[in-house]
């Protein structure tokens, strides 16, 4: 699968994403500058983490107007796989490619630590190699990861199986204590209705190699590659 890792001014997780895709999983991968106007030839597009445009105004608010986003929209509309990690997720919600919004963490702190996720829906290209209920240990690093959507939207995404990952304890319990940032329904990652666009706050690209002591993120990449 050919992967395109989009780079915005201020993106800083692009190299980690590229490394995992190219060197750990041996897939063709390229960086795509935000001013490019074509995603031709790519099978999957990744919007990496970081601080695009310095998080000015709101995280992802300005990146959504980059020329490449127009291409991401048509790429997603024609069923292409899109993965937004952290700031990438923020850009996707700002762009309206995913529902809801990501707000300041409830405790107002930048959180940088491992958390646990429970897989909620294994029937997507991003989770098909993972069992429902499987618990993954993955790090977060964000100050604006608090997922919000109004009642109607929440009902819709829950009903459609669009919630892919929830914050949980190591034992897989989706509890208040396991929720690091106040996200409604402990939502850590969602998909669009068509299940081809993923947005998640935790960083699977930081834990996809055993040598780093945690390979909890591997399953997500393996799922994408098998889809």
């Amino acid at each position: 699968m050919k992967f395109g890792v989009i780079v915005f001014p201020g993106s800083n997780c692009d190299h980690d994403c590229y490394h995992v895709l190219k060197h750990v999983f041996g897939q063709p991968a390229e960086f795509v500058w935000h001013k490019e106007t074509s995603l031709k030839g790519f099978d999957c597009v990744v919007l990496p983490g970081g601080f695009s445009y310095g998080d000015y105004l709101r995280c992802g608010a300005i990146a959504k107007f980059s020329p490449i986003i127009k291409e991401v929209r048509s790429f997603a509309a024609s069923g292409g796989r899109v993965v937004g990690i952290c700031n990438g997720f923020q850009i996707l919600v700002e762009a309206g490619l995913l529902p809801g919004a990501l707000m300041r963490n409830r405790n107002l702190r930048f959180l940088c630590r491992n958390i646990h996720l429970r897989v909620e829906n294994p029937e997507t290209p991003f989770t098909r190699k993972l069992a429902k209920g499987k618990v993954l240990k993955i790090p977060i690093a964000h100050a604006e990861g608090n997922y919000y959507a109004d009642e109607e939207t929440l009902k819709e995404i829950e009903g459609n199986g669009q919630v892919l990952f929830r914050y949980a304890t190591e034992e897989g319990e989706v509890s208040e204590g396991a929720n690091p940032n106040g996200s409604l329904h402990n939502i850590a990652g969602i998909a669009n209705k068509g299940k081809n666009v993923l947005g998640m706050m935790p960083h699977p690209e930081r834990c996809a190699e055993a040598i780093l002591g945690n390979a909890g993120g591997r399953g997500i990449f393996e799922s994408i590659l098998s889809s």
Partner: protein, 82 residues
């Protein structure tokens, strides 16, 4: 020329942790009877328009297109002739 003063705040239906913290801080400073504290942002800009109605329409477009996230924020603005 019109100067626009735009006030953007979290919607009342959305939990505002910053507002809560500020509220508690005010209370510990001894300010009683304070409620509904919200912390938002302020944007000021000048817009070249022939009249107030046109200026207002343009500012509204700017708010809805970029300045405000309608999922979690609400806004008001005032226009002053310069």
């Amino acid at each position: 020329m019109y100067k626009a003063k735009i006030y953007i705040a979290p919607k009342k239906s959305v939990l505002d942790p910053q507002g809560k913290v500020v509220h508690h801080a005010l209370e510990s400073l001894g300010f009683q009877g304070v409620d509904e504290v919200r912390v938002g942002k302020f944007v000021e800009l000048k817009v070249d328009s022939p009249d107030k109605t046109t200026a207002a329409a343009r500012v509204k477009e700017m708010c809805e297109g970029l300045l405000v996230n309608a999922v979690v924020e609400e806004y008001t603005f005032e226009l002053l002739r310069e």
